[in-house]
């Protein structure tokens, strides 16, 4: 899935790590393909609308959010199960830029081997671009159909069954 050019990805990741020379324990290198890319909500929504998916689930999480971490394995399992039926899963970390290494380390541990995003830009712009009804609470998941229309917004944690039911209703 080419969302941004490879050169831009390299620059973004280099910039993120170059800003933090004093971090004692550097995050391990991402799993191949698992870059963490700074992105605004507009850029994430472009990725939502990129052709090729029949359903898109955007999950906004953060390392300091325990329910976010707890539901990540379920989201990744959902992705593996439904990828060949056209499900695209887009993960967006709401961590601050100074915590990008922690976010990258968590994704590494989870075996994430596809590009994911870390929020950049204003907070209200970001929140309102996904859902003006959203208070910004994490985790949050937004499920879009293949035309990029928002079909479901979950403000809070979800179970595997809840995610699966909503994704299946969009795929069918």
């Amino acid at each position: 899935m080419q969302i941004l050019r490879r050169s831009a990805l390299a620059i973004a990741l280099t910039a993120a790590s170059a800003a933090l020379p004093s971090i004692a324990a550097a995050a391990p290198a991402p799993n191949p393909g698992g870059e963490l890319v700074p992105a605004t909500a507009s850029q994430v929504l472009e990725a939502v609308r990129a052709p090729g998916a029949r359903a898109v689930l955007v999950n906004v999480w953060a390392t300091w959010c325990l329910p976010c971490r707890a539901e990540m394995p379920d989201l990744l399992r959902l992705r593996r199960t439904y990828a060949d039926r056209g499900l695209r899963v887009i993960l967006v970390s709401g961590d601050f830029s100074s915590d990008a290494p922690d976010a990258a380390a968590f994704l590494h541990e989870q075996g994430v081997d596809f590009p994911t995003y870390i929020k950049k830009g204003g907070d209200m712009e970001f929140i309102n671009a996904f859902d003006p009804q959203w208070s910004g609470t994490l985790p949050a998941s937004f499920i879009y159909d293949g035309q990029g229309h928002l079909r479901f917004a979950l403000h809070g944690a979800g179970s595997y069954e809840q995610f699966e039911e909503k994704v299946r209703s969009v795929l069918e």
Partner: protein, 199 residues
């Protein structure tokens, strides 16, 4: 953004809780409750209220949002206290949830950040519950007559002070300090959920 035919499944807590938040125009609830400050004094909102108005800000030590905004909270609190607005920072978090939210850590943090205003413990989260506060940080600004005129977040970019375009809390405090109306009365309070005692 266009959002045609949106079906929203809301998992209850965020919107349901916001219905109980203090309404604009209300007075501060539980304003005579004494809370232990980092300097050992027992203080209530009534006691610290200023002649021009009062800022009550729920915050804590551990939350990354509170930490990101802490310097700005200190600057705003310190400068507006000098201009006649009473300021109190309240930690309503149960430290058994995060040890970093304990009293000793509060003492250290207030000193590190140079808080010239009280940083107090809301034991039992009594005051936070009465305010309907849910997040750290979450700001409530009262005018000279004790009416709530602003409720919400600090500004529009927690991560990077240099990128802030909307100084929500700063603008509200300036309006109150100069006796003018607050133009943006409510914003979404962004931050970690308050770790209430007994929850």
């Amino acid at each position: 953004m266009r959002m045609p035919t949106l079906t929203t499944l809301v998992l209850a807590t965020a919107l349901a809780a916001s219905a109980s938040a203090l309404q604009i125009g209300s007075s501060a609830p539980q304003r005579d409750v004494k809370m232990r400050s980092v300097d050992g004094r027992e203080l209530s909102i009534t006691e610290i209220a200023g002649p021009k108005g009062t800022l009550v800000i729920f915050t804590c030590n551990h939350c990354p949002w509170a930490k990101a905004w802490e310097t700005r909270i200190a600057e705003l609190g310190n400068s507006y206290q000098q201009r006649g607005i009473g300021v109190i920072a309240i930690n309503a978090n149960d430290p058994s949830s995060h040890a970093e939210d304990g009293y000793d850590e509060m003492v250290k943090r207030a000193k590190e950040r140079g808080f010239a205003f009280p940083y107090v413990v809301d034991a039992g989260s009594t005051v936070a519950r009465a305010f309907g506060a849910e997040r750290t940080p979450e700001a409530f600004v009262f005018d000279a007559s004790g009416k709530l005129v602003y409720h919400g977040t600090i500004d529009d970019n927690a991560d990077d002070a240099a990128q802030v375009k909307q100084h929500y809390l700063g603008d509200a405090l300036e309006a109150v300090a100069t006796g003018k109306p607050v133009t943006t009365a409510e914003t979404k309070a962004l931050g970690c959920s308050i770790k209430y005692y007994g929850s």
